[in-house]
């Protein structure tokens, strides 16, 4: 009896000790003193995640290959038609570009170079349902640093995905724009009003845009394109984020509140591009 009691006490004490250690770690990490141990964990597990993702991909590719072949044939036919159309468009585009360059020169604008980017594949999602981050297969080894912006292309449109929040040796963690910790300085493309986009935590819920001036009410239309304003150094200006789906003019608020549907369908996103921006690289290295 006494021995069983001693054993139970020992187990409780041991558990309490482990809980205390994890609580201390939690206290330290929530004050942002941690970083190194997380990077170790990320590097170790992302190695396994890469393997599991590869194996899963192989199985799914094999199973889908027959249907894929039929689909490819169809898309090949469609693409041939598109190539024909694009050939025609290319000729008119070249004329327009020359005209645009001439006009820009006359207006004194410098032709701004587009940012350089690194392509990456999503290899895993956050194992916790409360968090919405995902892991990419590029890391410090490929020149990725914290706070770099991430974009994706869907249906020929470039859309903002999020930013790099943690970097391992060969992988990095990205917080999407719908994450509750994401704040993006935005601009309504048509009316040019500024606002701040805040995520709701899930990709299904709309992103909220706050601090839009009340006088903009009559100028905002449903479906208006929302782009990054570039006011925040993290995201380059002019990247599409989403389209306005709802406008709320609440009496007790001094500004309008908009709801926006992201341009990117996060559910079918596989590949993304990490923007290599000198400003964030310097910040990330600090």
């Amino acid at each position: 009896m006494a021995q069983r009691y001693r054993s139970a006490t020992r187990r409780t004490m041991g558990s309490a000790l482990l809980m205390a250690v994890s609580l201390i770690t939690l206290v330290v990490s929530t004050r942002s003193l941690a970083g190194f141990p997380e990077r170790i964990g990320l590097s170790v597990l992302s190695f396994l995640q890469r393997g599991f993702d590869g194996a899963g991909q192989f199985v799914s590719d094999t199973v889908n290959s027959i249907a894929e072949l039929r689909r490819l044939e169809e898309s090949h036919r469609e693409l041939l038609k598109r190539v024909e159309n694009l050939g025609n468009l290319e000729r008119s585009y070249a004329d327009l570009k020359r005209e645009n360059d001439r006009l820009k020169e006359q207006l004194g604008f410098l032709s701004s170079a587009k940012y350089a980017s690194v392509s990456a594949k999503i290899i895993a999602r956050d194992p916790e349902n409360l968090y919405s981050t995902f892991v990419l297969n590029k890391g410090a080894l490929h020149g990725i640093v914290k706070n770099q912006a991430v974009v994706a292309y869907q249906n020929g449109i470039e859309g903002l995905v999020g930013r790099v929040v943690e970097v391992g040796r060969t992988s990095c963690v990205v917080a999407p724009i719908y994450d509750t910790s994401a704040f993006v300085a935005v601009k309504l493309e048509r009316s040019r009003y500024d606002g701040l986009a805040v995520g709701a935590g899930t990709s299904e819920a709309p992103i909220i845009i706050r601090y839009i001036k009340k006088r903009a009410k009559d100028e905002i239309q449903f479906g208006d394109l929302v782009v990054t304003s570039g006011m925040q150094s993290l995201y380059p200006p002019g990247i599409s984020i989403g389209r306005v789906t709802k406008l709320k003019d609440l009496d007790y608020l001094t500004s309008l509140e908009l709801e926006m549907e992201p341009i990117i369908d996060f559910g079918r996103m596989e590949y993304v591009f990490i923007i290599r921006n000198e400003t964030t690289e310097l910040e990330g290295q600090e």
């Binding site: 330290v28 999602r125 963690v173």
Partner: protein, 167 residues
């Protein structure tokens, strides 16, 4: 003893990786079952001593590395749920369906309660479940459904994970 601990650690680490990769294909409203939590409940319930809690602590730290959660959060949650399961060790008979489902259900609710308490203490730093939100209830139901299957699979690995006298 050490072999059992390392095998449990390896198994739960693999479950965390599966949770973050393959299970994405069977997610319901982006919610996936918490396999690692269920495995820790199983090991803690069936093993004497600190095996379940210590494996929960170590794998929790590893999970924190790939999650946006603050470092130490999963370690705490998994250790404390392992401790709760260990307190019940030997007090119930585990059948094939009902008890594992109940364990999955209660363990997820316990996780939600721990998170709510921690979110109050570390305000703004830790996310907790919305009691009326679908994420919590989908996860509770999903874990309750998956637990009998996972327990059955783990049962076949008992000789690697659980000491002889407790099998």
């Amino acid at each position: 003893m050490l072999r059992r601990w390392l095998l449990s650690f390896g198994l739960i680490s693999i479950l965390i990786v599966i949770q973050s990769t393959w299970l994405d294909h069977i997610a319901i409203y982006s919610v996936v079952p918490d396999l690692s939590l269920l495995a820790i409940v199983y090991i803690s319930f069936k093993s004497p001593g600190l095996q379940g809690q210590s494996v929960g602590f170590a794998t929790g730290l590893l999970q924190d590395g790939i999650s946006a959660a603050p470092f130490g959060l999963n370690a705490f949650i998994k250790t404390s749920i392992g401790w709760l399961a260990n307190l019940l060790s030997g007090k119930f008979y585990i059948d094939k369906i009902l008890m594992p489902a109940l364990f999955g259900f209660v363990a997820t609710l316990a996780k939600a309660i721990y998170l709510a308490i921690l979110a109050t203490i570390f305000s703004g730093k830790i996310l907790s479940y919305d009691l009326f939100g679908r994420v919590l209830w989908i996860e509770v139901a999903y874990n309750a459904v998956v637990a009998p299957v996972l327990f059955l699979l783990l049962n076949s690995l008992d000789r690697f994970l659980i000491p002889l006298e407790k099998r």
